[in-house]
């Protein structure tokens, strides 16, 4: 386990060090202390590392992550794991706006709440939220899964493409072209898998599924009001 005080080393030096590790490195376990809300911590990683961050992080922690497993023992600022390609990013506390924005793969787990725009523009990432999500979550969500154990704020899934949303609690309102869809065995099984991968012991039974009505896929005057 390599321990780094990022307050003294600096984000840039730490990131460079993590980027430069050899592809077959055996320096795989890292603990980062004193993040104090710093931005872009552990961004752009591309190694099978296991990183624990002790404290709260700022914007874009784990941005564009590949392969690494990052755990934040605190809260995260906006853009957590934005454009994640693979690997896992976990935050024990809350995540601010645009968590996992445009994520293309991998898994993002938020223990507490996510604020607005959780999963905005998602392109294949799986996001599991133990608490609730704020307004405009899954806006223009193209692919992947968003699991919300708590409630979802207004305009959920506005302009959604093919991403699938599961919500355990209440949904304040649905966005353009987002509708409730029946839960089949296949979906329940996928949901259970996602909850398990997030390490959450939550019953899949009470969840509802939401997805695209696909009425906006081709410009039609009759749907002009939806635009």
């Amino acid at each position: 386990m390599i321990e780094v005080d990022v307050e003294s080393l600096g984000v840039r030096a730490l990131n460079e060090r993590l980027h430069r590790l050899p592809r077959d490195t055996n320096e795989r376990l890292w603990k980062i202390t004193n993040p104090k809300g710093a931005h872009a911590l552990a961004a752009g990683l591309d190694r099978p590392l296991s990183i624990e961050i002790e404290g709260h992080v700022g914007y874009y922690c784990g941005g564009m992550n590949k392969q690494a497993e990052i755990t934040i023992n605190g809260h995260a600022g906006p853009g957590l794991a934005e454009n994640i390609m693979s690997g896992v990013v976990r935050v024990k506390g809350n995540a601010s706006q645009s968590a996992a924005a445009s994520g293309r793969g991998g898994l993002v787990v938020i223990g507490g709440d996510a604020s607005s725009r959780c999963g905005i523009s998602m392109k294949g990432v799986d996001i599991v939220v133990g608490g609730s999500v704020g307004h405009m979550s899954a806006f223009m969500a193209q692919a992947g899964h968003l699991v919300v154990c708590g409630n979802a704020g207004a305009h959920l899934g506005d302009s959604i493409y093919e991403a699938v949303i599961y919500v355990g609690g209440e949904v304040e309102s649905l966005g353009s072209d987002c509708i409730e869809k029946p839960m089949t065995d296949e979906h329940r099984s996928k949901l259970e898998q996602l909850l398990a991968s997030a390490g959450l012991r939550v019953q899949a039974a009470r969840f509802r599924r939401f997805g695209s009505a696909r009425r906006l896929y081709n410009f039609k005057v009759d749907h002009a009001a939806q635009y």
Binding site: G37, S116, H135, G153
Partner: protein
């Protein structure tokens, strides 16, 4: 675009370190607001019958002593002042209108930054870390304070354009974001008696709230009206004699973090600014919902 911060102390034992904490909060947000900085601090209530006025003049050799002497002689009551950088905190034993009238007549070149029983308002061009040092913020004590670091979007970088903007007695406003209908709003407010000194969008919001409060609205009502009347992206923090309020526009793209412990409530554009406050690690941290008014008052 900018950084905004607010700190409200629930535990009065921390009052002596208010300035130190606010100073660190502003420094943390100097990257997102390098052009200018300002703060409003609520402290040392004026004695009954007196008013506190924060004044500004760019000339470092400005005759503040002469101003105070002349004012005191002409009105016939006590006037004292405390200089801080390019500003002077005047405490005058007279009604507020008397003070305003005298200043407008005898020193029209002096800018009034803030007026009230408790408020002191200091702001200037320059890097926030510098500005804070020039005003000696670190040594100031008080019950609550708001601050701002500025990255000018559409209006000039001058002292007048800096935030906070004072909207009325013991009131002030800081803003992160960019309004989109402030020009027509400014013209309407001007016709209804509000005077503007700049082309700044935040000044319009400040004028809007002053107008509504002047018409008898409560702070909550004024802020709620603002949500529908003011268009654009904004996180507003408003300072009052007894506390502060925070509100975000309905789309809520601009950041806002709130944190609370038994000892304080803090607000900032980035968590980084709150991180060093005593007990921050264990504080309750959350984000204000869009189009919702949050407020805290002294009891």
């Amino acid at each position: 675009m900018c950084g905004i911060v607010g700190l409200f102390l629930k535990n009065s034992a921390l009052e002596s370190s208010l300035g130190r904490h606010l100073s660190a909060m502003l420094s943390a947000l100097s990257d997102r607001g390098p052009d200018s900085a300002g703060f409003a601090i609520y402290r040392n209530p004026a004695p009954r019958g007196s008013i506190k006025v924060t004044l500004f003049h760019p000339d470092p050799d400005f005759g503040w002593d002469r101003l105070m002497r002349e004012m005191s002689e002409e009105i016939g009551t006590k006037v004292r002042g405390e200089a801080r950088g390019s500003h002077l905190l005047l405490t005058a034993a007279m009604p507020v209108e008397t003070a305003r009238h005298w200043l407008a007549h005898h020193r029209p070149e002096v800018r009034i930054m803030g007026v009230g029983d408790c408020i002191e308002l200091y702001k200037e061009k320059g890097n926030p870390k510098e500005v804070v040092r020039r005003f000696g913020l670190e040594e100031l004590a008080g019950s609550h304070a708001l601050g701002h670091t500025r990255m000018a979007t559409e209006s000039a970088v001058t002292t007048q354009h800096s935030h906070p903007f004072s909207t009325g007695l013991d009131l002030c406003l800081v803003h992160n974001g960019s309004l989109s209908n402030h020009n027509r709003m400014r013209r309407w407010l001007s016709r209804h008696g509000i005077e503007f000194q700049t082309d700044n969008d935040t000044e319009v919001a400040a004028g809007y709230f002053t107008h509504l409060l002047g018409e008898g609205a409560t702070l909550e009502e004024a802020l709620k009206s603002g949500i529908s009347d003011l268009d654009g992206f904004y996180t507003f923090a408003i300072g009052t004699k007894d506390g502060f309020a925070v509100v975000r526009d309905p789309i809520a793209c601009k950041p806002a973090v709130l944190a609370e412990t038994d000892d304080w409530v803090a607000m900032a554009s980035e968590y980084r600014a709150i991180a060093h406050l005593p007990g921050a690690d264990q504080s309750r941290i959350w984000e204000p919902s869009p189009a919702t008014v949050y407020s805290w008052q002294k009891h």
